[in-house]
Symmetry: C2
Subunit: 329 residues, 2 copies
């Protein structure tokens, strides 16, 4: 029997997720949900260009979709915050439908929304559903992969994770999101107002600490602009020397002795992009993915690949590290 | 409540495993089993030097141990073949005791002993036990880690895994096991007679294919001696130029289009030891652990770290990739 999948959110990432899901022999696409009136009521083929979905419609809400079909899983790509995601996924859970979400905070909702996390877990158990937040970052390179690598360590003293992304090779929204072209002080003001920086770094660090059973104190978080040291021109924009060309976002925590450091740089013309995990332990681990893992393509993959693993897991608010080892689906 | 652990097999790896387990705050060591008459009846402190186990005894069999105590888990470090392991672990399973084993074939017993694998699975479900085979290789660097890395790939065309171990830095039994000092023809004869080479490579390749749902045909396996290009002297032995100083063991399989290659070199004075996983896919992944993961220390870690994950898993013959993501315990 195929896994029936609906897509909630038909923005760029949602469409890419759906396109990938539609290629999987085990998946059957049964509907889409979006708030855009230009999409509602049309077929997914019309809206996304995916062939074979001429009879599969876009609905204005999950409730409308649920009147016509019951998916096994909803791929949810709409928001970054748990409290914004909750009203969207609550009706899915109550209908006994599992959710795989790109919502960054859902990677570890226990951090910022412990009460909501408990509520989601209780609802899932009651209605036989599962919720998982995943992606490439958060979701893999700065958390799940690092946890996995500790599996061959007798002891771990500290973990340093470094991700360097060359934003020049990424899509326009990312190039803007990292503050390209902003005066450095403007960047710093926006970070203080929670309008700049990467969502998910503190969730990643908290997930690692949770898995390793480290009682970490307050997470120290800094986010500084990367300043262009030359005039930069990408496919989409230009940045003059001296202005912001990206972010350097860093989170640190410790349990008194053991230390976790997550260091994320995403900037235009970044040299030597990579995903590195360095474990000071016995034995030590010095791991690097040369070139790094491509953000958008990998996030879409992580979402779709998680579907079979999620459906095999127990009911509840799941963590990436609770379910079976990730794999291409 | 602590996890009650017994150790089956008190050879060098068994003792190291027990030593590590004894350091874990969640573990309580309740007994040991060995066939050596010099060890039977003595305390684990006498036999292993671990403090605090003065009242914990070594028994001649699991049946004898079970008369006195019921562990939650047995750490089984005794043999490499499923059919040799089976009579040892069957009484444990029938007593409802879970088993974490270093037996290489138990990583994926479905390959060489499909009937026994089914029998173990059925016994486990009947008697509420679990069996897992793990270690660093097989168990992690050439299988579980590679599967995990595909989790952020939309598609995978081929996987090449390379492990290079500098055997000069390893213990004496490994330096001998890789054929050090043998004339090359003698090495080849021993491989043909199944007396040389690394046990587990074909299990690793089969586990990956299983996880990725690739229907691979016959596995092509080669094992050649690495020839010393200079006179080699280690802490334990000497090898003259022109004689064998290690193994180059390789397994390849494909499903018609997709290819899996596992390439293992373990030899004296090996340059640039590493664990590399190269995935040709979308996105591609080019991962390397510089220096490699230390074999013995990591195998001991993998065994002990698996214990909590195994006890949280469902009953049955488990695979490393079925249970939660590995982590340091």
């Amino acid at each position: 029997m195929k896994i029936k999948i609906a897509q909630f959110g038909l923005g760029p990432i949602g469409v890419e997720t759906l396109k990938l899901a539609a290629t999987k022999p085990w998946a059957q696409i049964v509907g889409g949900v979006d708030i855009d009136p230009a999409k509602i009521g049309r077929s997914l083929t019309e809206v996304t260009g995916i062939k074979g979905l001429e009879k599969v419609r876009v609905y204005s809400s999950f409730a409308e979709l649920a009147k016509k079909t019951k998916p096994h899983v909803v791929l949810h790509t709409a928001v970054s915050r748990t409290k914004t995601a909750f009203p969207q996924i609550e009706p899915m859970i109550k209908a006994g439908v599992s959710v795989v979400s790109s919502c960054e905070e859902l990677l570890f909702p226990q951090l910022r929304e412990p009460a909501l996390a408990k509520k989601i877990d209780a609802l899932c158990r009651k209605h036989k559903a599962r919720v998982l937040g995943t992606g490439v970052n958060p979701g893999f390179v700065m958390d799940t992969l690092a946890v996995c690598l500790t599996g061959v360590c007798r002891t771990v003293e500290s973990i340093e994770i470094e991700r360097v992304v060359n934003a020049s090779l990424r899509r326009m929204p990312l190039q803007k999101k990292i503050g390209s072209g902003l005066p450095p002080d403007e960047f710093r003001r926006l970070f203080r107002e929670n309008k700049m920086g990467h969502v998910g770094l503190v969730e990643s660090i908290s997930l690692i600490a949770h898995c390793l059973n480290w009682k970490i104190g307050k997470i120290k978080e800094t986010c500084e602009p990367v300043i262009a040291d030359h005039n930069i021109k990408t496919e989409f924009l230009e940045v003059k020397k001296g202005l912001t060309c990206g972010i350097h976002h860093r989170a640190e925590a410790n349990d008194g002795k053991k230390t976790l450091v997550l260091d994320l740089k995403m900037y235009l013309d970044a040299k030597d992009p990579r995903d590195a995990v360095k474990i000071i332990g016995d034995p030590p681990i010095d791991s690097i993915i040369r070139g790094g893992v491509h953000g958008d393509r990998a996030t879409v993959a992580a979402l779709v690949n998680a579907v079979p693993n999620v459906l095999r897991a127990q009911y509840g608010m799941l963590l990436m590290t609770d379910i079976a080892v990730p794999r291409v689906g």
